[in-house]
């Protein structure tokens, strides 16, 4: 880079701009992701929060280039990844080019460790595979490295595990293996799609802490996708709240929690049970259902469930607007604005 130190820092590791994904569903075209933009710096964690069906997983798969071609109706926008001082436009890559990035540049941790591992291959083979493919290691070298990885993700008796099959491990252990596979080729960006949702509550925290520790140690950029605000609360640097395929609020974590503006963010926040609450505190469920993403109606998608909704919300779609340092939201009548009370 010829620019100054300051400028180098400004080049984000991953920059997503106006990403729009539409999929062919059985009932019609699904507007899964609409106009999503965000940036991710090296060593940072971005939390993406939303209900199931809000398009988070589709977005993650789009970033990984994993959406099946046949099912993709439309993919627009720009996803750029900084690789060795160059910037690659991911959406323009061929499948073959993209494949060389998966593993050493981009990696993903899947939601359900019970189904994410191949039942008929040993763990060793599954961890060693990307090492042999991308780093050109031979089998023995790859196995030695797999052993190190298993140790790093905190699996006891890693040597014995290499020869075992997925069904011989518990869910939490399997998720650690999935993490080991993701980290095998030292990726720059790690996408964790609901990495703990399928796990027991007691194991969830361990796995999350492990992920975070590894991310800090390796200075990866991490996108942590979850439906649970509590998961990202003290783990993410920034949080993006997604609803119906759009980002509706984006802010640094502390700022989001101190002054959330979008009614949906608040509803999500209130629906998280807190230990500090007195017992028998009523949990706030969000009224209504998540919107359908086939032929979405005009206007704000949250309007039918929103306590603040006005006429305008049903006609126009609010754009994501900056309201302060790194704080954006997409709402005509945000919380704390005068018009609501008026």
């Amino acid at each position: 880079m010829t620019d100054s130190q300051h400028q180098t820092q400004q080049v984000p590791l991953l920059r997503v701009e106006e990403l729009t994904v539409r999929l062919r569903g059985e009932a019609g075209i699904v507007h899964a992701v609409s106009d999503v933009s965000f940036q991710l710096q090296r060593g940072q964690t971005l939390g993406i929060v939303g209900e199931s069906g809000s398009g988070k997983s589709v977005m993650a798969r789009a970033l990984m280039g994993l959406l099946p071609r046949r099912a993709t109706h439309l993919m627009e926008g720009s996803v750029s990844l900084a690789v060795d001082g160059r910037v690659l436009e991911l959406l323009k890559l061929s499948e073959r080019e993209f494949r060389t990035l998966r593993g050493p540049r981009l990696a993903m941790v899947f939601q359900d460790p019970m189904t994410a591992l191949n039942p008929v291959l040993t763990l060793g083979v599954q961890i060693a595979e990307p090492l042999q493919l991308h780093l050109g290691l031979n089998k023995a070298q790859a196995m030695a490295r797999a052993l190190e990885l298993l140790t790093q993700v905190g699996i006891p008796d890693p040597e014995g595990r290499l020869r075992q099959y997925p069904h011989q491990l518990s869910g939490g252990m399997r998720q650690r293996v999935v993490i080991a596979i993701a980290l095998a080729c030292d990726p720059q960006v790690l996408l964790a799609d609901e990495p703990t949702t399928a796990l027991d509550v007691t194991v969830q925290r361990q796995v999350l802490d492990l992920l975070l520790a590894l991310q800090r140690e390796r200075q990866m950029g991490m996108v942590l996708i979850t439906h649970d605000l509590g998961v990202v609360a003290n783990r993410a640097d920034h949080i993006a709240v997604m609803y119906a395929g759009r980002i509706v609020e984006y802010a640094p974590t502390s700022r989001l929690f101190s002054s959330m503006r979008h009614p949906y963010t608040e509803a999500l926040f209130k629906s998280v049970p807190r230990l500090s609450d007195p017992s028998h505190t009523r949990l706030h469920a969000i009224p209504g259902r998540p919107p359908q993403l086939i032929d979405p109606a005009p206007g704000c998608a949250f309007a039918p469930r929103c306590p603040n909704a006005q006429q305008r919300c049903r006609r126009e779609t609010p754009a994501l607007a900056q309201i302060g340092d790194q704080h954006l939201h997409a709402c005509f009548y945000p919380i704390g604005s005068k018009e609501v009370g008026a």
Binding site: R61, T100, G103, A107, F110, A116, L117, P119, V120, E129
Partner: protein
């Protein structure tokens, strides 16, 4: 090994039931074997009774069954009263032909079915997939004897590539042997091919939707390697079961195919024994085939553990 021990009683029970059923089936066939042997008309009832006694036909059914089973267990199925040949010898001398035919048919079917199914499943929904599926659909509606006739018409009569009928033993000339076995095996293979292909395609498509395939893609594994290494093995369990189960189908097909191509196999022997009412021969062959079928499927069951570690570790 534990698996073998646990399933052994089932195997023995089934085999006993199969043997009794075979015996019953053949004993109930109309026509007195003694009369058949002596020839109808002009034979004195005394002569028939004497022969019946000699053949042991005058004893109770159950006694005859255990007698027959006892000999069968020692490998002695008796002698054909028609030809005087030992039933076991007759079967064993013709067995290589039928085994070669069946094995070749299954191998041909698998060699064609696996790549076609993989191609079809990988491009599921595409025009190529539809063409392959349509082809399999049509193949399934053609009985093997019809297939045989048209293969003879095209490849033997018109193009003169293969002999239309006849059999050359492997020991005489390996190439001539393969040439003489080609058309019969191909006729048998086609319907199997269609079945295998559809089955594997369905299972592959559902496997390809699994998370672990997405994970493999997320690792950057090339597509062909995903198909071969990650998808094929977990998708092949029902295929394996069916290959085992289809043995009965292959043998049924072999009866007709061996007759059409005049091959000296067990199927043709069975058919001709039925026509000649050579009951002892029919009994022996049927028991032999049914036993082979039960044992092969038992082995298929066991071999799951080779393919699927979940079964292997369940002990």
């Amino acid at each position: 090994m534990h698996l073998v021990l646990r399933k052994l009683p089932w195997l023995i029970g089934t085999l006993l039931a199969v043997s009794f059923f075979t015996f019953l089936l053949v004993s109930l066939l109309p026509g007195d074997p003694a009369v058949m042997i002596l020839g109808a008309g002009g034979v004195s009832p005394e002569a028939v009774a004497a022969l019946r006694a000699e053949l042991g036909l005058d004893r109770p059914l159950l006694v005859r069954y255990f007698d027959w089973l006892g000999s069968a267990l020692t490998g002695d199925f008796g002698r054909s009263p028609m030809t005087g040949q030992s039933v076991m010898d007759a079967i064993l001398s013709r067995l290589p032909v039928t085994i070669q035919l069946g094995v070749m048919a299954i191998i041909i079917a698998l060699l064609l079915a696996v790549p076609l199914a993989m191609l079809s499943a990988y491009h599921a929904g595409s025009r190529l997939d539809r063409v392959i599926s349509g082809l399999g659909f049509a193949l399934m509606s053609i009985p093997s004897f019809m297939m045989a006739i048209f293969l003879i018409l095209i490849l033997a009569v018109s193009m003169n590539l293969f002999p239309a009928t006849g059999w050359v033993p492997f020991s005489v000339s390996p190439t001539a042997n393969l040439r003489s076995a080609a058309l019969p095996a191909l006729s048998l293979a086609m319907i199997e091919l269609a079945l295998y292909m559809r089955l594997l395609r369905t299972d592959l498509i559902s496997t390809l939707q699994q998370d672990y395939i997405t994970l493999a893609r997320a690792k950057g594994v090339p597509n062909w390697q995903i198909m071969l290494r990650h998808a094929l093995r977990p998708s092949s369990f029902s295929l394996m079961t069916v290959v085992g189960l289809q043995l009965g189908g292959v043998i049924s097909g072999a009866i007709i195919i061996e007759e059409i191509f005049a091959l000296p196999g067990v199927g043709r022997l069975l058919y001709q024994s039925i026509l000649q009412r050579d009951l002892l021969m029919v009994q022996g062959i049927v028991l032999f085939i049914a036993t082979a079928y039960v044992v092969v499927n038992f082995l298929v069951d066991l071999s799951y553990s080779l393919l699927d570690p979940r079964v292997r570790h369940a002990d």
